[in-house]
């Protein structure tokens, strides 16, 4: 069969709009989710027993069920309770709640990676608690957490494609609707795939660059 990409030209703005929507919900869910993840992590390791159990259950429940089922619960089950959400809000809320559980686990791994001996060393040097948290725990933990967080951003961007199943007009949805209009299925899947690939390659390149600039003081010194 002959490939012909010309039929796709009139739809390029549709595809780009889809890409923009995908990026938009990814960024919102990343920012909101990683903020919510901080509270989940603090709740999990904090002194409150009930809070800690709740946070652990939430994290495990999210991490052991598919995002698609979570989106179905938000998009199809909430209306049965009288809460109707637009697809874009359902997707943003779903991705945020999902991302929060994953980032909470990333924070946990990051903080656990700072050896306890370092804190004791700080105490022995006569540092105040706030100083210990800031210089000995927070800085190395941030550096350890950063690559995992940027990786999570890329995974979240790819996961935003699942929004197409609840009829959110993002990139995958645009790909399928162009395919249904033009019957140029292979061509549009190739173009769409390349768009995804390009953006995730850019994100990964940018995060590598950011890592070396932000943590220049710590190259090769990972605790």
């Amino acid at each position: 069969m002959a490939l012909y990409f010309g039929d796709l030209l009139p739809f390029s703005s549709l595809l780009l709009e889809g890409l923009w929507t995908a990026l938009y919900i990814t960024l919102v869910a990343m920012v909101a989710g990683s903020a919510l993840g901080v509270f989940l992590y603090l709740g999990k390791v904090g002194p409150g027993k009930a809070v800690s159990i709740f946070c652990t259950c939430y994290i495990e429940a999210i991490r052991n069920t598919p995002l698609l089922v979570q989106l179905y619960l938000i998009y199809f089950a909430l209306p049965a309770l009288g809460i109707n959400l637009e697809p874009i809000w359902a997707a943003v809320i779903g991705l945020t709640l999902n991302n929060a559980a994953y980032t909470a686990e990333i924070y946990r791994a990051g903080f656990e990676s700072v050896p306890h001996g370092l804190r004791e060393a700080g105490k022995a040097l006569g540092m105040k608690n706030a100083q210990i948290v800031r210089y000995i725990v927070l800085l190395p933990a941030t550096r350890n957490v950063f690559p995992a967080l940027t990786n999570q951003l890329i995974l979240l961007f790819l996961a935003s494609s699942i929004g197409s199943i609840i009829s959110l007009p993002e990139l995958t949805n645009a790909i399928m609707s162009v395919s249904n209009t033009t019957y140029r299925t292979i061509e549009v899947l190739a173009v769409g795939g390349l768009l995804y690939l390009g953006v995730s390659a850019l994100l990964s390149l940018a995060s590598k660059r950011a890592e070396t600039t932000l943590f220049r003081w710590a190259v090769g010194a990972r605790v």
Binding site: M1, E60, A61, R63, N64, T65, P66, L67, L68, V69, Q70, Y72, L73, F76, A77, A80, L81, L95, N98, N99, Y102, A109, G110, E112, S113, N144, A148, N151, Q152, L155, L156, L158, A159, S160, S161, I162, S164, I165, T172, I175, M176, S179, T185, I186, L189, G192, G193, Y196, L197, S200, A201
Partner: protein, 229 residues
Amino acid sequence: MFRAFDWQDLIPLAKGAWLTIQLCAMSGILGVIFGLILGIARTSPSRIARWISTIYISCVRGIPILVIIFFIFFGIPLLFPGLELDKFTSAVIALTCFAAAYVAEIVRGSIEAVSRGQSEAADALGLNYWAKLRYVVMPQARKIMVPPGVGFIIGLVKDSSLVTVTGLVELTHAGNIVTNLTGDPIMTFLTVAAMYFVICYSISLLGRLYEKRTGIQVDPLKLPEPASV
């Protein structure tokens, strides 16, 4: 009209769960086989093998699994007219293509995590490439692979839910059908979620049991992130 969600609705959901398990078992096994080959090629001394595997791995890892599923499901019949694949086979192919790339990354990471001195010692002993891999590197890399591998299989179970778009009646699609019958999405999808949870949590418990038995423990930060969200 609608009837309430009751115990008899569990039967189609259980059937869907069984299909999900079969789907993941098949594509998991195939994915591990191809992933091992790709991962070894990715670290091999042959430049061509490295290039091909790198291109494959980075392409698949940069594209959503949903697009890969659409490509296999709609693209293959167009590219190879006359080749008729049933839904289950195309789902297995799509999930295998996807799994192979992520498993290959885990394999590469584990091979690279084996200390260089081991590999150099094997060279000094005059072992050739395959003997070095077989007797020195792989036995050590195998232990490092287990924890992220378990995480990846859990990710595969979750990602298999996306196959629902092809109309294959696995767990999530069964949930859709039951919702249409009962008009009760809350109970249905909570049950579906609970079933996924049981499958995934059992896999992680098995993984932990294996870790305890073999004493394999890995720094949680060094694990490649789970492949799916």
